[in-house]
């Protein structure tokens, strides 16, 4: 896809999202929401919040805005693929940009979580920042090993760095392959009865709609899993246990 073609579809998706959100915001009130669009966005918000809290844990609510943005952008981008010849998510560059943002945000979340942990222990703010970055990097070296096995930790560090880069590739290629693959499959089915002017590929639409929802879900799900891997601490698991005990 050319640059201006991609720009057109990105602007289209952004216009749809921002327009509907601006309209939904007018329906906000202290009591029951009567605007159907506001209700729809509320349901999506509750869904994403449950996803974050169930995967990341009780401290997952702070990641809801980012996950909600990912969910909405990917979902509307995928829906564009059903109605238009192409879509932003059927282009690898857009997906790779989004995956880079997601993985970069995971690193940021890990550093912030370590920083708050250090501040909780009583370290001063200036000293806590480099320490938090160091601890986040130590996270990549795996479990703490005895002194003899330090080279193993180095190897684990290299492997973890490669896996961190491959997260970008797997996130972006999965979305691209699913959406673009859906287009190619519809094209191939259209060719079957091309001579009789019967668009057989249109029967793929329900499956493509399912793919749209599942792919947006998978992207958010995997980002949540990555965040939960870097922000996990001991005392929070205690909190989870207490919350479970309170629930029972």
């Amino acid at each position: 896809m050319s640059f201006w073609g991609l720009a057109f579809y990105v602007v289209l998706v952004l216009a749809v999202i921002l327009g509907t959100m601006a309209y939904a915001k007018t329906g906000l009130s202290d009591r029951v929401f009567k605007n159907p669009l506001t209700r729809l966005y509320e349901h999506v918000y509750i869904f994403v919040k449950n996803l974050c809290v169930s995967i990341i844990g009780p401290h997952g609510e702070r990641f809801v805005p980012m996950m909600f943005t990912f969910w909405i952008v990917i979902f509307v981008g995928n829906i564009t693929a059903l109605l238009f010849p192409t879509s932003p998510t059927a282009d690898l560059s857009f997906n790779l940009g989004m995956a880079l943002i997601a993985v970069g945000y995971v690193q940021y979340a890990g550093i912030v979580s370590q920083y708050e942990h250090l501040r909780h222990e009583g370290v001063s703010a200036a000293a806590a920042i480099p320490k938090a970055i160091f601890r986040h990097l130590m996270h990549f070296t795996g479990p703490r090993l005895p002194l003899v096995l330090i080279p193993i930790s180095g190897l684990i560090f290299v492997v973890e760095l490669i896996s961190e880069v491959m997260k970008n590739v797997s996130l972006s290629l999965r979305l691209y392959g699913n959406i673009d693959g859906g287009h190619q499959a519809a094209d191939a089915m259209n060719k079957l009865l091309y001579d009789y002017y019967i668009p057989v590929g249109a029967f793929l639409m329900p499956i493509k709609l399912l793919t749209c929802i599942v792919q947006a879900l998978i992207f958010c799900l995997l980002t949540c899993v990555y965040i939960s891997l870097v922000t996990h601490h001991e005392e929070e698991s205690h909190d989870t246990k207490e919350a479970h005990a309170a629930a029972h």
């Binding site: 995967i55 290629l173 999965r174 392959g177 699913n178 673009d180 879900l217 998978i218 799900l221």
Partner: protein, 68 residues
């Protein structure tokens, strides 16, 4: 696409078996423990995504790169 016909068939076979195994395991788990349904579904979807990615790589990415 013609020169990759048999290869794509084998790739579809492998991905189909993998997806079937995941669905089999997840359904058995859900039937045995209905209260863990949500967590099993999430783990199942993640496993689906990984199997699907291999298939998509085989079918859409590799033929394009091999052609040039």
């Amino acid at each position: 696409m013609e020169q990759f016909g048999l290869g794509i068939g084998i790739a579809a076979l492998g991905a189909g078996i993998g997806l079937g195994l995941i669905g089999y395991g997840a359904m058995q788990g859900m039937a045995r423990q209905p209260e863990a349904l949500g967590r099993i579904q999430i783990a199942m979807l993640i496993a689906f995504a990984f199997v699907e990615l291999v298939f998509l790589l085989t079918v859409f990415i590799i033929p394009g790169t091999l052609k040039g």
